[in-house]
Amino acid sequence: MEKIVNFFKDKSYGFYVTIISIIFTIITFSVYVRSYSKFDAYISWVGFYFMVVGAVLALITIILKRYSWAPIILAATNFIGLLYFILKIYNYVTVVLVGIDLTSVSATFITCTVLFAINVVLSTANVFFKQSHPVELGAKENN
């Protein structure tokens, strides 16, 4: 119990945002892959893998106590994931805009778009958040 309390003692609010961001990343790529895995035209596996790797690396950096790297990794991989999402999903948006085969966007599309957007905003903002208190930081952290 004491270990846990000690672990969190030196953490700033940014660290908690990082945890939330990791969870959000996992939710986003899970929803994305569940929604579009059967549609080659609309899913970017590269984007998906970037986000998975980003979440895993972020966790690893936390384990290694390189707290300041986690938000940077998350921001970069989530943003790249978003770009790949756009690269593929614009085909779908085009179909809707043409208005023949589809006349309105689906709830799936809206859900994924919102998740990607929140994910990127959250992880990007977190880059500027303090992850831990410098005073109590070890030599490895100077954020």
Binding site: K38, F39, D40, A41, Y42, A75, A76, F79, I80, L83, I86, L87, Y90, N91, Y92, T94, V95, G99, I100, D101, L102, T103, S104, T124, V127, F128, N143
Partner: protein
């Protein structure tokens, strides 16, 4: 963190994100470069003319316009469209001369359609409606009658005085989501206002004051991408991925083509008002291309006094209808499709309505088939798993109703009890008028492979009018036919004419030249070609198909009396001419266009003859056994449908066929020699003008094209063809659609002003400068004028008037010239197989001969103006449900006589230069990739001179379902398709998931392995067809042999490159900044440490 570090972090994030976004944006825009350029009106090519040339611009107009300026064009369009609607509107019912209404009558107009007309369809059949005149304004007397300002809606004398308060109520209701009709792939609603609500409106209090008549206008819409629902419930008709319930609608039992409960409430209300004397009569206007079932008219359920079918009315069709209602014009249209009493009595609908026919599987898992049984998953897999069988065979529309009627009257065995009135409300060709006509003195004269049929028509009524004369052939249903599985309908329309306007008592002898070719039938299992049989053929003149059969029966000695009342009216045997024929399998075995043999070619489209059919077999409808073969759809007590459709089971051969045809790696073999690329022969495309397709000079010209130019030409064909610098081929603009153009005039659309115009008229309209070489722009070219929005094509067919069709064609052609368009992605020459088809407004008729023949003058006039028609979608594109790759099965006789015939006439007689092939499969083979279909039918038999294009390939590359079923590369290599109507940028992969591009098969000089010369040759042939077609379009106008075309980078692309550069520099600068300061900090720290 210090300030500098924060700044660096911010700069890195901002510049990095901007760079990422720009890379993404650039990737997307570069992949769609031509689409964006077209949308922005920034062409990628430019014409350079030799300075000080003596050539006058006027001499370079290879296709002349009949108009002096754009206003004349626009004005003429309104006049032609009104004339089309005038002659194509069909008067179905007019009890006690309810019509015409006296001019100025005080009337109530009911229905939200009054405020929201059905002008035209959605999707490719969409039309301009910006200047459309609505129902109310048409009744008020508005029209486009001022030549000097054609778009101005000018108020003339009111034709009818309408209850304005009621109109105001409906205008409000028409925008209320509770009542507003809607349509679309996932949102079909009939709408309208229930009678109880109507009575609460402010206008209802004035109903009695406008009691001369109640005009109730109802509509049904439709369009590309969806068929019309016949029931509510869970189905996959709209292609939703989870087969979810989405077709719930407000129709009776969810049937879009019946009166809805709301409409019934209004008609009941009007009936009450009539009974109590508040209104004198009820007039119903059917503003729809897809007619509803008319049981309520047949039964007189609501006391409707008069009923008019208008189709979709285009921009000013309402004006024509208003004039028809008030007697300024007289009706002369005849229905181009059977109007059913009950749509369930149309046997086609067993294999159509709410189509959701998935192959059954021999084994539910079937992993070796390569696709998933949709019954076991949520996945939507239309491209591989849906099918439709044209089980009716030859007995489509009136060919069913009239044939079974004749057999019923004649007491033929297995006909069953066939009550014609329960089936047909108004027969094919039917149309009433304010006057009556008598046909007499029929004469038939045999000429070279044709007959001159002369009929004397007398106006026996009291007002002037005109009428169609329909000529039918009755072929003998011989033992030979029965032995060889040929089906012979009772009567078949083979030609038609129309009188001039006849005054009361006046007569006119109308002579119609009938092509004897249409006496022949396709004998699949005997001679394997078109034959005439030994026996008596009859030529019949009539005012509709049912009258034709009764005339035939009369000729055979039948009367209502001697048939126990089975025959429902006397026929006129004097309008029937008997002709004896001998068996002949030679005369019509050769194409009348190319003289090439016509042979049995489509075993792969008939499941009974397809090699990989396994145990599949379909019983097509047969005159031998109506009761045993016809299975009508039924409606269960809960309103859902029970359809006795043909059931097919997928076989391994079928599955392999569907997979293999889209696998370029499997389909394309090594071999062959590449053509020459990039030769310097000094030719330009214009040098080939007047040369035949076989002229050897073509090879020299084609040798000049580089590999990259060839790829660019074949990879970017969405509504255009690319410019080619090496041979000075101009870009062409090809535009929708099936009902005529749908564009706004302007420089951008013509690609002129900034580049070599596809046609000079777009900028010459102001005339020529004094030097005679340069144009003075028409000040109206950018004033927002639009092309004409024509009525649905069924209206044009219903005119039965070739002159009107020619006028429409001329107008479309002129609009191509003035709009800088040299290709029309139309006409829509598929067949109205079922009234539930989404694209009904695009198609002409249920009859292939009427479709083909009415299109001939229309196509000719379009083509005359250097606008090539891409008649579409050839063939069997009669439904929208699961249109991407739905397997369509039909026997060869029906395929040829009921479907291909329309296209054949359009190409051979109309001179249609190009064809757009269909979305569906022919059996298992996607039409776009069917070598046999293009080579044997389009090229060899019809002699199609130009481009075979498909719009299915691109659609599937990035389409809604994201599931490819063709390969654009294989399409070309099979020589089935010349141009995939989509933009693939530089040479993007075949489809998502494919590894193949054209470059995969390139010569070594273009970075390939050089092993696929056959691919190079196929690409060259496709290019040749595109060039040959371009050469005979108005796109060549303004080009002289001194002109040159150069490719340019559009301004927007330059802007994107500029932004890319700035962002890249900013990012790089940020990185440098961070690295430099890091190094300096490091050194500083190191120095301090030391």
């Amino acid at each position: 963190m210090n300030v500098r570090a924060k700044l660096q972090k911010t700069a890195l994030v901002v510049s990095g994100y901007l760079l990422g976004l720009m890379i993404t944006a650039t990737t997307i825009t570069w992949a769609n470069v031509d689409t964006i350029s077209s949308a922005l009106g920034q062409p990628n090519s430019m014409r350079i003319d030799k300075e000080n040339t003596d050539v006058k611009a006027e001499d370079l107009e290879y296709f002349k316009s009949d108009f002096k300026n754009l206003k004349e064009v626009v004005y003429n369009g309104f006049q032609v469209q009104e004339e089309e609607q005038k002659e194509g509107t069909v008067l179905l019912k007019n009890d006690n001369n309810a019509l015409p209404l006296a001019k100025g009558s005080k009337v109530n107009v009911f229905g939200v359609t009054g405020a929201s007309p059905f002008y035209g369809a959605s999707g490719s059949g969409g039309i301009n409606t910006k200047e459309a005149i609505g129902w109310y304004d048409a009744f008020r007397g508005y029209n486009h009658s001022d030549k000097t300002q054609p778009n101005a809606s000018i108020k003339g004398d009111a034709l009818l005085n309408i209850n304005e308060k009621l109109a105001s109520d409906y205008t409000t209701w028409a925008n209320d989501s509770n009542y507003k009709p809607s349509s679309g792939a996932s949102n079909v609603k009939i709408g309208d206002v229930p009678w109880d609500t109507v009575k609460t409106g402010t206008g209802y209090t004035d109903v009695a004051a406008y009691g001369d008549a109640a005009i109730y206008i109802i509509k049904r819409t439709g369009g590309e991408g969806y068929d019309l629902p016949a029931t509510s419930g869970s189905n996959a008709q709209y292609g939703n991925q989870n087969n979810a319930v989405i077709s719930t609608n407000d129709g009776t039992n969810g049937d879009y083509l019946q009166l809805s409960p709301t409409e019934k409430s209004v008609l009941s209300g009007l009936q009450e008002l009539k009974k109590e004397g508040t209104i004198k009569k009820v007039i119903l206007i059917l503003n729809m291309a897809s007619p509803i079932q008319l049981d309520f008219l047949k039964d007189d359920t609501y006391g409707v006094d008069a009923c008019v079918w208008t189709g979709s009315v285009g921009e000013v069709g309402t004006v024509a209808v208003a004039k028809l209602l008030t007697g300024e014009y007289n009706f002369s249209g005849g229905a181009a499709q059977t109007l059913w009493t009950d749509n369930l009595m149309n046997p086609v609908n067993s294999n159509f309505m709410d189509q959701n026919y998935y192959f059954t599987y021999e084994d539910s898992d079937n992993p070796e088939y390569g696709f998933i049984n949709p019954a076991l998953t949520e996945q939507y897999q239309s491209t591989f798993t849906t099918y439709i069988v044209y089980q009716e065979g030859m007995y489509l529309g009136y060919k069913y109703t009239e044939t079974r009627y004749e057999d019923y009257v004649l007491g033929t065995k297995n006909t069953g009890n066939f009550n014609y009135d329960d089936v047909v409300a108004y027969p094919f060709g039917y149309g009433s008028s304010y006057t009556t006509f008598d046909f007499s003195d029929m004469k038939v004269e045999h000429k070279n492979k044709s007959y001159d049929v002369t009929v004397k028509v007398t106006n026996t009524g009291k007002v002037a009018g005109k009428t169609p004369i329909q000529i039918y052939v009755a072929k003998p249903y011989t033992d030979y036919a029965k032995e060889h599985d040929m089906q012979i309908p009772s009567v078949e329309l083979i030609d038609f004419g129309k009188t001039s306007e006849l005054q009361p008592g006046a007569s006119e002898e109308v002579t119609i030249n009938v092509n004897e070719k249409y006496f022949s039938s396709f004998d699949t299992f005997g001679a394997g070609t078109y034959i005439t049989m030994e026996g008596t053929y009859y030529l019949i003149a009539a005012q509709n198909a049912h009258e034709a059969v009764n005339n035939l029966l009369a000729k055979k000695g039948k009367t209502p009396e001697n048939t126990n009342g089975k025959m429902d009216a006397e026929g006129d045997k004097a309008l029937v001419n008997a002709l004896d024929y001998r068996f002949d399998a030679q005369t019509w075995s050769l194409s009348t266009k190319t003289n090439n043999p016509i042979t049995r070619s489509f075993d792969f489209v008939d499941i009974n003859t397809y090699e990989g059919r396994g145990d599949n077999h379909v019983d097509y409808y047969s005159r031998e056994d109506w009761e045993g073969t016809v299975a009508l759809p039924e409606r269960s007590s809960d309103g859902t449908l029970i359809k006795h459709n043909a059931q097919l089971t997928v076989t391994k051969e079928m599955a392999d066929s569907m997979h293999d045809q889209m696998d370029a790696g499997k389909m394309i073999k090594e071999g062959g020699t590449y053509p020459t690329y990039g030769a310097d022969n000094g030719l330009v495309l214009l040098d080939l003008q007047g040369k035949s397709f076989e002229d050897p000079l073509w090879d020299k010209l084609l040798d000049q094209m580089t590999w990259d130019e060839t790829v660019d030409l074949l990879s970017n064909g969405r509504h255009k063809t690319q410019a080619i610098e090496s041979i000075t081929k101009p870009a062409t603009g090809d535009e929708n659609g099936p009902n005529g153009f749908n564009h706004t005039y302007g420089y951008a659309s013509a690609g002129s002003k900034y580049s070599g115009p596809t046609n000079p008229f777009a900028e010459r309209a102001g005339g020529f400068a004094e030097d005679g070489k340069t144009y003075i722009p028409d000040p109206d070219i950018e004033s927002g004028y639009t092309s004409t929005g024509f009525s649905s094509n069924g209206v044009l067919a219903a005119t039965f008037n070739r002159e009107i069709a020619a006028k429409v064609g001329k107008q479309i052609g002129e609009e191509g010239i003035w709009g800088g368009k040299s290709g029309l992605l139309g006409l829509g020459m598929n067949i109205l197989r079922s009234q539930y088809a989404g694209r009904t407004a695009e198609y002409y008729s249920e009859d292939a001969n009427l479709t083909g023949l009415i299109c001939v003058p229309e196509i000719q006039e379009i083509e005359k103006r250097g606008v090539h028609c891409f008649i579409k979608h050839c063939a069997l594109n009669e439904s929208e449900t699961a249109r991407h790759g739905v397997g369509t099965w039909v026997n060869e006789q029906a395929l040829r006589e009921n479907y291909l015939r329309a296209f054949e006439i359009g190409i051979e007689d109309g001179g249609a230069y190009n064809v757009m092939t269909s979305f569906n499969r022919l059996g298992t083979i996607a039409t776009a990739t069917s070598a046999d279909f293009t080579a044997k039918f389009l090229r060899s038999e019809c002699g199609l001179p130009g481009i075979v294009e498909t719009d299915c390939a691109g659609d599937m590359t990035d389409g809604a379902h994201g599931e490819a079923y063709v390969s654009r590369i294989v399409n070309v290599v099979n020589r089935a398709t010349d141009l995939n109507e989509y933009n693939y940028g530089a040479d993007s992969p075949d489809y998502n998931g494919s590894e193949y591009t054209f470059k995969s098969f390139a010569p070594t000089s273009a970075g390939g392995n050089g092993k696929y010369g056959n691919v190079g040759q196929a690409m060259r042939e496709a290019s040749k067809y595109i060039l040959y077609s371009t050469l005979t379009t108005n796109a060549m106008s303004s080009l002289s042999s001194d002109s040159r075309i150069i490719r340019i980078t559009p301004a927007w692309q330059k802007a994107v490159i500029a932004v890319d550069s700035i962002v890249s520099v900013a990012f790089a600068a940020t990185i440098v900044w961070i690295v430099v300061t890091w190094i300096l900090d490091y050194r500083k720290k190191a120095k301090k440490a030391n």
